[in-house]
Symmetry: C2
Subunit: 337 residues, 2 copies
């Protein structure tokens, strides 16, 4: 049972002055005498007065709240993104409502509706894997609410976007393996129906080509989870015993593969060098620490929300959209040499 919260009306009644005077006094409006102002402020503090944001928001038609729709919070990458979002939001005086879709289309729709009903000033979205219909996002556009997509962008909805240059990152990883003298480099790839899968394979291929390595399709193994790596790595390494470099599409795959390879009696990095992609904290915890392509979740969140706030606070023409591409960088550790 909620108690009555103090309002300016209460303060007005107690002090025997009008509501408007209290309102003005609280924000040091010059129309109000200093004595009155002080009286009001003192009483407000004494009563623990907190302005009712709901009322203000209703009047201003602005909530200072941003919505976020994200597939899964329990993911180092996504939680980093949220962290970046939160920090910038905090600095700029915005609140954040985080919704997770759990990769479910229906839930994403409901989340979007809730954010709409709550009149958020803008939304940040990373699309669920099961979403192929985008009308729930278009409603934001219809209402003039700015959107920024990040990471999992929505190709069918024009808007601002923040993405990672997967191809470039994969190129760096592969180039590094080449530069340290690897002669036969395998790629443990992500599914090719995902943009990230395509991009990372493409970067791998471009590096091979640029350094006159022949592309051998049999050196590409679709394998992008810890479980798959544990299942497939040994056989693959036996089939291709002279592989001395592996670029995996993500860190957990790389780490699992590394552990299997070590168990097979090979030394990492002396016999085989491995590079991952993602740079969660896992890369540091593995042994040896994993060379990996750093994916900047925090920066992505920060960039996305900056873009969004800019859109909200400046009346930019509605038809100008940017796409920000974050270039990942290679972090060289001890799994390659």
């Amino acid at each position: 049972m909620k108690l009555h919260q103090v309002t300016i009306k209460d303060i007005a009644k107690i002090l025997g002055i009008s509501i408007s005077t209290v309102s003005r006094a609280l924000k040091s409006h010059p129309d109000i005498s200093i004595e009155t102002r002080n009286q009001v402020k003192e009483l407000a503090k004494k009563l623990n007065y907190e302005p009712n944001a709901l009322a203000m928001n209703l009047r201003r038609n602005k909530t200072n709240t941003l919505g976020v729709i994200i597939p899964e919070i329990v993911h180092h990458f996504f939680s980093s993104v949220i962290s970046g979002i939160e920090d910038i939001a905090y600095d700029r005086g915005y609140n954040v409502m985080v919704c997770q879709s759990n990769e479910l289309y229906d839930r994403e729709v409901i989340n979007a509706q809730a954010l709409l009903a709550n009149r958020v000033d803008g939304v940040l979205i990373s699309v669920s894997k099961t979403t192929f219909e985008f009308d729930h996002f278009r409603h934001f556009a219809n209402q003039g609410i700015p959107m920024v997509f990040f990471d999992r962008i929505c190709p069918d909805v024009i808007s601002d976007r923040v993405i990672t240059n997967d191809e470039g990152g994969a190129f760096l990883a592969t180039e590094h393996l080449i530069s340290i003298g690897c002669k036969k480099i395998a790629h443990f790839s992500a599914p090719q129906n995902l943009m990230i899968g395509q991009g990372r394979l493409a970067g791998y291929q471009r590096a091979l080509k640029q350094y006159q390595f022949e592309f051998d399709p049999s050196l590409v193994l679709q394998c992008d989870t810890r479980e798959l790596a544990i299942e497939k790595t040994e056989r693959f390494m036996n089939d291709n015993p002279d592989v001395d470099g592996v670029f995996a599409a993500n860190d957990s795959t790389a780490i699992a593969a590394m552990q299997i390879i070590q168990k097979m009696g090979k030394n990492v990095p002396d016999n085989v060098s491995l590079v991952g992609f993602g740079d969660g904290p896992n890369a540091l915890i593995a042994w040896p620490p994993l060379t990996t392509v750093e994916q900047k979740g925090y920066e992505m969140g920060a960039e996305a929300i900056k873009l969004l706030i800019h859109k909200i606070e400046n009346d930019t023409p509605t038809d100008s959209y940017q796409t920000k591409v974050l270039t990942p960088s290679l972090i060289i550790r001890e799994s390659t040499k």
Copy 2:
């Protein structure tokens, strides 16, 4: 530039009926004829009408929004908690505003104020490490806003709580080290101003006592982050060369310590056995896989929000508070033997 959002007033004007009729028609109030009701509903759908939650909330004095204050989102444990919170909130029709304090007292205070201003219906809190003053939490109580503390609870504020049985978990961990034959067992502890720090130390001590080990304060090292472990472990192990068991207050500390110990030329688990606390995915990726006390983040979030919603929706007497204790279990892996 935000467009005008459709309101019931617009619908009323177009249909030439009153606002109240529209309002009632939309919720199928029996006073309204079926034809009118249908007309209204159709037009509402056509215009993409979305009820303004702000206005409703202002009138109802209820927001259907819950606040969460958490130290850090980028933590497997905390993001699991949020995931649990989100899922239940979604099922029960609540929105969630997540704020991270980044372990900063000042920021925690501001977060609390923001939630207060937004008139959340209740709050879930896990206290920052740098918080020693709790008035900002008491404001919630003063306003009659239910609070539930979880994990990092606040001893000075009476309220509902959800915690893990840290003492019990620590006991299990220490007992395990004793049972496998460790003779000199150190504890890398969390700060003693945190209840979890106290609890884990207490469990360690109880196990020692129960098995007639002498408690040696110099074997307790305050060290609860990866960075601290990297900084302090070597010196500690040199000062105490015959330590053959370490119980660390969390996994990342245990893993970092394990890596340092390995670098010092000792074998894990042959020379030194280590146990962590927390069981994020890291414990599996470390080498050797870490024995650890399993902490149930998702369940904790779910339990906490259930308690909170119960408090919100039922007028339970304000003076009855529960504490829910989640019992952790020991997961034995290869860092101990």
